[in-house]
Amino acid sequence: MERGAVKKFAEAIGDLHPIYVDEETGKNSRFGTNIAPPTFPRVFDYGVIEGLHLPNKGLIHGEQSFHYKRPLLVGEDIFCYSEVTGYSEKSGTQGKMGFLLLQSFGEDPSGQIIFTSKSTVIISEAVRRELISQ
C-alpha cells in the first residue's frame, strides 16, 4: 500500500481528505497510520486467471461491491487474487449477453481476509461472438 498511490487515487476521486494523505492525521487517528479509500482495490494486481482472455474493450461494468473487515492501511502488504465465480447468458433486445461474475480477495501476510470484492461484467453480443470465434 504505497503512500503515493493512495494519494494519487484520492486525488483522482476528488477526496484528498487528511486521513488518506496527511501523515500527522494518520498517526493521530485510531489506525495509527493513513488509510485508503474503499474503492482503492481497483488499483491492485490480481494476477492472471488461466484461460480467461477478456478484451479490454466492449465490456460493461454492471455491478461492483466491496466487503471489508477493516479499512486498508497505508504501508501494509496485501496479497491479492481473483476467481471466476459464475457465468450466465440472457437473451435481450441486443442479442445474447454474457454475465461474468468475478470475485477478488485481499489478504494480510498471515492469510486473513481484509476485503473481498465482486464484479459483474456484461459481455455484449458482438464481443461474445468475437470471443467464441477465437
Partner: protein, 133 residues
C-alpha cells in the same frame, strides 16, 4: 455532525461535483490503471458506438464514497454495493446522495446514489457503515 446522531430517513449533506472534464478521467485512468480508451479518447468512444467519452463507473463509485470519509473515526464502510445504471458524459453535473435507511445495532444501512443534471440515477446502491463499539 456525527453519524450516530442521524435518524432513519435523514440524509447526509449531498455534494455536487464540478462538471466532468477529460482531465478528471485521464487522472482516474492513471491512478486506477484502467486505460480503456472509451474513457479518454473521443474516436475510441465513437468506435464503441458512444456519443463521446464516458466516465469510468468506478470513478463515479469512488466519488460517491467520499460522503462517508469524514466519519472514519466513528466507524468504517463494511459493505459498499453499486449498480451502474447510466453513463456519465463530459460536462455532466453529478450530485452525490446518501440517506440513512435503517439502523441495526451498530450498523447503519444507507441508500446511496449519484444523479446527473437531469436527476437521472447513474449509479445506485447501498452502504453498510459499521460503528466502532
Amino acid at each position: 455532525m456525527k453519524l450516530a446522531e442521524l435518524q432513519a430517513g435523514e440524509s447526509l449533506e449531498s455534494t455536487q461535483l464540478d462538471p466532468v472534464t477529460r482531465l478528471d478521467l485521464i487522472k482516474y485512468a492513471g491512478a486506477s490503471g484502467d486505460y480503456n480508451p472509451i474513457h479518454t479518447i473521443d474516436e475510441e468512444a465513437k468506435k464503441a458506438g458512444l456519443p463521446g467519452i464516458i466516465a469510468h463507473g468506478m470513478w463515479t463509485m469512488g466519488n460517491l464514497s467520499k460522503l462517508f470519509t469524514s466519519f472514519y473515526e466513528e466507524g468504517y464502510m463494511e459493505d459498499y454495493l453499486i449498480r451502474f445504471k447510466g453513463m456519465v458524459f463530459l460536462n455532466d453535473s453529478i450530485t452525490l446522495k446518501a440517506v440513512l435507511h435503517e439502523k441495526e445495532g451498530n450498523k447503519l444501512h444507507f441508500k446511496v446514489a449519484a444523479v446527473n443534471q437531469d436527476d437521472r440515477e447513474v449509479i445506485k446502491g447501498t452502504v453498510v457503515f459499521v460503528q466502532y463499539e
